[in-house]
């Protein structure tokens, strides 16, 4: 049992840091509710939403007062004295986590003490409850700090979305810098790999698939949308701005990719609203589409009032060009040249491509949303049109905005919306810790107090997100620097009841199985020297093709070239865009028969039998559709599948040829393999077991040279390591 007192004392000792100001003058202070006080400014304590100002009164006593409760002017006065660096904010988070743990711990201890006297419980129930309490008490003590190896592997998986390469791992572990953890966090946040990692997260939320919509033969492409999302992550575009762009974008998906958000739910205006609520407000209101919500304060009419904000846009626009006639004209050219399939007179591919050219998000001013024809409540008539209005948050003044959906976007992302920021920090917290402050993340209740694992912490994170101008990178920069994040993963699984009642207080992150993408991307890391080097590009080409004046395509060559270029959109390329871009075909990135490139650069969704899908990658048809559950097929894929048997363990495999037998330090081959796969060096007994394989006799097959035997044995070590639970889980 860890010593709670000791932990708490050390932590408090470290955290009580005073930022003392040189200025000392008497001034008048005003609280947010108007009370006034004469006092000298001594300094501040803490940071962010829980910062305190230290004031010395005329009688010489010093008091602490919450900065959050000061008037706006006084807050500005204090602001420059408040630390806003990641370390200071991280300390505050740790303090809040510790406070909650302490409170919970003592509560449980008292309950345990009085349990024996409880007359209402049978002895059996008492014993059961006692075990539960003791288990929960164990989880109310911070875990030990991670080793450098554990931290490194975790931070790479969480920020870069993959395990570190051999070079990255040895560089970090050998570094003697005292700031190396903070430095690595900063470094990783600015990599291409971070954008890849976060793209997987967002594409699951936003349901981004290659074929943007099911209809039209899937010719409406998401490539521009994908690149736009990745670029927004790389630029660290403020999240509220990003959401406003999605909700208000006009035009075509190739010229203005943000408009793809509306197009995704083409023809499903009401579903689109439900999805927007789930993704950006963590609120499930689908049921109010058909009836008053049974538990939440949302009526059916509220749903339709919200939906009518989205009632004036269309996703298609009329065009002066007669596309059908153009397809017929071009089909004729192809037919005459004998380029059409037998028995066809009409080029269906051209028809489908041109069919997507009318896709265009635009605001028509015609309200399309009305109450359903079977509306049964007293507050409206069937088929009646309703005025847009919000049922919580700020009151919306439609006149101030160009379109109702612009008003909606403003309302949704406003600091006055009680759920927008909470939803974001809750989802990001879950990404780093494996569990949200509020679970489930798509069911944020109207009143947060008592519903979150740690209400004070959640409010702190909310304010921090606002203060940091909705920077996702800065959020991770702070959170990953906390002790809470850097402590060892929890060894016990929190129970559903515990999660439900908000009783898990984060002694460390929970032990998470890697996501499907993290597993796949780690396999890619073990396969190639530059795992993030291969990217999918095509937005530029798509834009060019879709803006082609179709009437100028006259000759067979022009038409065929147009079709061919269209088919190639979204091919893999290495390096940056522009002329140097190298287009590659189906063989790009192929190793051992498998295309080994990062998941974010692969087609989405992959077919159901692919490794990624088997391990639970979302098919992107539903919000948050990924899973991390185990299954027999997954185990078979790791035991017998091509990744572990052809890609990683063949004598030509990167790990064997380039790492174990490669240039560089003449280290031990087994050490190198362990470091590459698990991010740590082997324990002595592991090294002995692995080494005994190197001396193994022939298997009774054809005789082999010593070197061949050794390579086969190295392959065995790799196979065995990627099959461990240690590999699959994030410690």
């Amino acid at each position: 049992m860890k010593l709670l007192h000791q932990h708490l004392l050390t932590a408090v000792g470290v955290l009580t840091v005073f930022a003392v100001s040189a200025r000392a003058e008497m001034r008048e202070w005003t609280s947010s509710d108007g009370k006034k006080l004469e006092a000298e400014f001594v300094g501040t304590e803490g940071a962010g939403a829980s910062a305190m100002v230290k004031l010395k009164l005329a009688n010489g006593t010093t008091v602490n007062y919450p900065v959050a409760k000061l008037s706006a002017d006084d807050r500005v006065f204090v602001k420059s004295s408040l630390p806003d660096d990641p370390a200071a904010l991280a300390s505050e988070i740790d303090k809040l986590v510790l406070n909650k743990m302490k409170e919970s711990y003592y509560g449980l201890r008292d309950e345990l003490a009085s349990l024996a006297q409880d007359q209402n419980l049978s002895n059996a129930d008492k014993a059961k409850r006692k075990a539960e309490i003791e288990r929960e008490m164990k989880m109310c003590v911070p875990n030990k700090m991670t080793s450098d190896s554990q931290f490194m592997r975790r931070i790479y998986l969480d920020i870069a979305g993959r395990i570190p390469t051999y070079a990255e791992a040895s560089r970090f572990l050998e570094s003697r810098s005292p700031d190396k953890r903070a430095d690595l966090i900063n470094e990783l946040l600015d990599t291409e790999a971070f954008a890849m990692r976060m793209f997987n997260f967002f594409s699951d939320l936003l349901r981004v698939r290659d074929r943007l919509v099911m209809g039209g033969g899937g010719q409406l492409k998401a490539i521009s949308y994908m690149e736009y999302i990745k670029q927004s992550i790389k630029d660290d575009k403020p999240f509220d701005k990003f959401v406003r762009e999605l909700l208000t974008a006009e035009g075509t998906v190739w010229d203005n990719p943000a408009s793809a958000y509306m197009v995704t739910d083409q023809g499903m205006r009401l579903c689109n609203l439900s999805n927007t609520f789930t993704v950006f407000l963590g609120t499930e209101i689908t049921c109010a589409q058909c009836h008053d919500h049974p538990f939440e304060q949302v009526k059916q009419i509220d749903f339709y009032r919200m939906a009518s904000f989205m009632g004036e846009y269309e996703t298609n626009k009329r065009s002066n060009l007669n596309y059908r006639a153009e397809v017929e004209r071009m089909s004729k050219v192809l037919l005459d040249a004998g380029k059409l399939r037998p028995n066809t007179v009409f080029d269906n591919q051209l028809n489908l491509i041109l069919g997507t050219m009318r896709t265009n998000v635009n605001d028509t001013g015609n309200q399309r949303v009305a109450l359903p024809h079977d509306y049964k409540y007293d507050n409206g008539e069937p088929n009646q049109k309703v005025r847009p209005a919000a049922y919580f948050g700020d009151t919306v003044n439609l006149e101030k905005h160009a379109t109702p959906r612009a008003a909606f976007a403003e309302w949704l992302t406003s600091p006055g919306n009680p759920r927008f920021t909470v939803n974001l920090v809750n989802r990001l917290w879950k990404l780093a810790f494996g569990l949200g402050q509020i679970e489930p993340v798509d069911n944020i209740p109207g009143h947060l107090d008592g519903q979150a694992q740690n209400y004070e912490l959640l409010k702190f994170l909310e304010q921090m997100m606002v203060d940091q101008n909705y920077s996702i990178k800065d959020f991770f920069r702070v959170v990953c620097n906390t002790n809470t994040y850097q402590q060892k993963a929890e060894e016990l699984s929190p129970t559903l009841t515990q999660i439900d009642s908000g009783a898990y207080h984060f002694p460390g992150p929970i032990l998470r199985r890697m996501s499907a993408e993290q597993i796949w991307d780690s396999m890619v890391t073990l396969t190639t020297a530059n795992p993030d080097g291969m990217v999918r590009r095509g937005a530029e080409k798509y834009r060019e093709l879709m803006n082609t004046d179709i009437t100028t395509l006259k000759t067979v060559e022009q038409i065929e070239s147009f079709k061919m270029q269209f088919r190639q959109i979204g091919s893999l390329s290495s390096g940056e865009g522009g002329d140097s871009m190298m287009m590659m075909g189906r063989d790009a990135g192929r190793i051992g028969g498998e295309q080994m490139v990062r998941a974010s650069e692969m087609p989405v969704p992959m077919p159901p039998g692919h490794f990624l899908r088997m391990f639970g990658q979302s098919d992107k048809t539903l919000i948050e559709n990924q899973t991390t559950h185990g299954s027999t097929p997954q185990v078979m894929a790791l035991l017998n599948g091509s990744i572990t048997n052809k890609v990683l363990t063949s004598p030509d495999a990167y790990l064997i040829k380039e790492i174990a037998y490669g240039d560089g330090k003449k280290g031990d081959k087994i050490d190198k393999i362990f470091l590459s796969v698990l991010g740590r060096y082997p324990y002595p007994h592991e090294k002995r077991a692995a080494a005994s394989g190197l001396r193994a006799r022939n298997d009774g097959d054809e005789p082999r040279s010593d070197e061949e035997k050794e390579i086969a044995a190295i392959g065995d070590v790799i196979w065995a390591l990627v099959n461990t639970r240690e590999f699959l889980f994030i410690q």
Binding site: C287, E491, G609
Partner: protein, 443 residues
């Protein structure tokens, strides 16, 4: 696998069979429930006579207007014509010609209704009889059958899902031991179930042993449920690999393979139906075949001939095949979907989500064919007669298979659940089934 094989060789033939039965039982994801023998009296509980079920699930919301409940000549009928079924006054859509010819074998439900217009919620309700909740995952019908009836076969899994997505509720709170075995592509069977060509058994054994050595420290430190579950999956998979049961999943081993593909159709749903038949012939109780592409918001009449046509072909071939093998009366065929589609045709030439009225189908397994049960109104908007909700739908499946609808099963948190949903009986205070089987389907 050396250890396993050495152990097996030491056993006499009888013990060996028992051993394989015991290991394979857990290996394909099935628990240690007692096996219900042929003489078992489970029929008394539900009364149904079906021993197997093949459940076709149409993802996306199958249009009732253009399959089983056409409304030709009305303002909502669209371009879909009706064709006769041999039963006066009952037509199917022109896209289901094979089933129309076999109408005497099928019963169509035209009065399905539920309340959720979103795919996930609707699909969840149809699969589990419960609406999604944040705190629990409810089990689907295959695992329910295993739970209530006991295991059907000694060494094969009780339920299989072919072509399913990532969001199938599976065995829910029953836990992983009752999970349906997922098969992605019917042609590929149980993927990766054989040792790769370049790996000898001896090498495999060596690797496996190394793996356990390398993983010791981690596993002794982290004893979470998730880690233990994976370790259990490894143990089970190893046992499975050394049993003969995998052959059942190899579709290409089906006699007259080419000929059968021609009649079922070389499509996902066709191959899925064909594999389902093969699994059922081998003794597996519950097979779900999922097929997508029904979310026809646009351009419906471009997609429907192929989508409905491939389903029609697969179902017809399955009926014929089961009959030829004498399995039709023992095998319940069910067709379900999350909702129907709006009678009103939208601007894009498609139909939108419509949970108020939709269609499903039953056949075989003691079902009295040649009938259309229930009625939607003239335009296909609302149910006019004999409404059937997802709980009644599942109650009908449960009844046909002989499950006890009122058998209460408690989750680990102590909440009571029933196979077709539950409510509290006002008079007795007891928890009873909310769903009612459709009696008229059973002749």
């Amino acid at each position: 696998m050396k250890y396993l094989k050495e152990n097996l060789n030491k056993l006499d033939e009888l013990s060996r069979r028992q051993f394989v039965a015991r290991t394979a039982k857990t290996a394909l994801g099935v628990s240690i429930l007692p096996v219900a023998g042929a003489s078992s009296k489970v029929l008394a509980a539900g009364g149904g006579t079906a021993e197997h079920c093949i459940f076709f699930y149409m993802n996306g919301g199958m249009t009732h207007m253009d399959t089983f409940d056409p409304k030709p000549g009305t303002e909502t009928g669209g371009k879909t014509n009706g064709i006769p079924t041999g039963v006066p006054g009952v037509e199917l859509s022109e896209f289901m010609p094979q089933l129309a010819k076999r109408f005497k074998d099928i019963a169509v439900i035209r009065s399905m209704t539920q309340k959720t217009g979103d795919h996930r919620g609707g699909s969840y309700w149809m699969h589990t009889s419960y609406q999604p909740r944040a705190t629990i995952i409810h089990p689907t019908m295959g695992p329910w059958a295993a739970r209530l009836l006991g295991k059907k076969h000694e060494t094969l899994p009780d339920s299989v899902v072919i072509g399913g997505g990532g969001n199938h509720p599976g065995s829910g709170f029953f836990g992983p031991s009752l999970s349906p075995l997922p098969i992605g592509d019917p042609d590929r069977g149980v993927q990766n179930s054989d040792l790769p060509d370049n790996v000898s058994e001896k090498q495999f054994d060596r690797r496996y042993k190394l793996m356990n050595t390398f993983d010791e420290t981690f596993r002794s430190e982290f004893k979470t449920d998730e880690v233990s579950a994976y370790t259990q999956f490894y143990d089970e998979t190893l046992k499975l690999m050394s049993s003969d049961d995998l052959e059942t999943f190899k579709l290409t081993n089906e006699p007259n393979y080419e000929q059968k593909v021609a009649s079922y159709g070389d499509t996902r749903v066709g191959k899925g139906a064909m594999l389902a038949k093969r699994l059922v012939s081998s003794g597996i109780r519950f097979v779900e075949v999922q097929a997508g592409g029904w979310d026809m918001h646009q351009d419906l009449w471009n997609a429907i001939p192929e989508r409905a046509g491939s389903l029609d072909m697969a179902l017809a071939a399955l009926i014929d095949d089961l009959k030829a093998e004498g399995l039709f009366e023992k095998t319940l065929i069910v067709l379900g979907t999350e909702f129907g589609r709006t009678p009103k045709i939208n601007a894009n030439g498609g139909r939108d989500h419509h949970p108020r009225a939709f269609s499903t189908m039953f056949a075989g397994g003691g079902i009295a064919g040649g009938q259309a049960y229930g009625k939607s109104d003239k335009l296909g908007i609302a149910v006019e007669e004999d409404p059937v909700d997802p709980r009644d739908f599942n109650a009908t499946i449960a009844h046909a298979l002989g499950m006890d609808l009122n058998k209460v099963v408690y989750s680990s948190s102590g909440r009571p659940f029933l196979v077709a949903g539950h409510k509290q009986d006002r008079a007795t205070g007891k928890v009873v089934s909310e769903g009612k089987p459709i009696a008229r389907l059973f002749g």
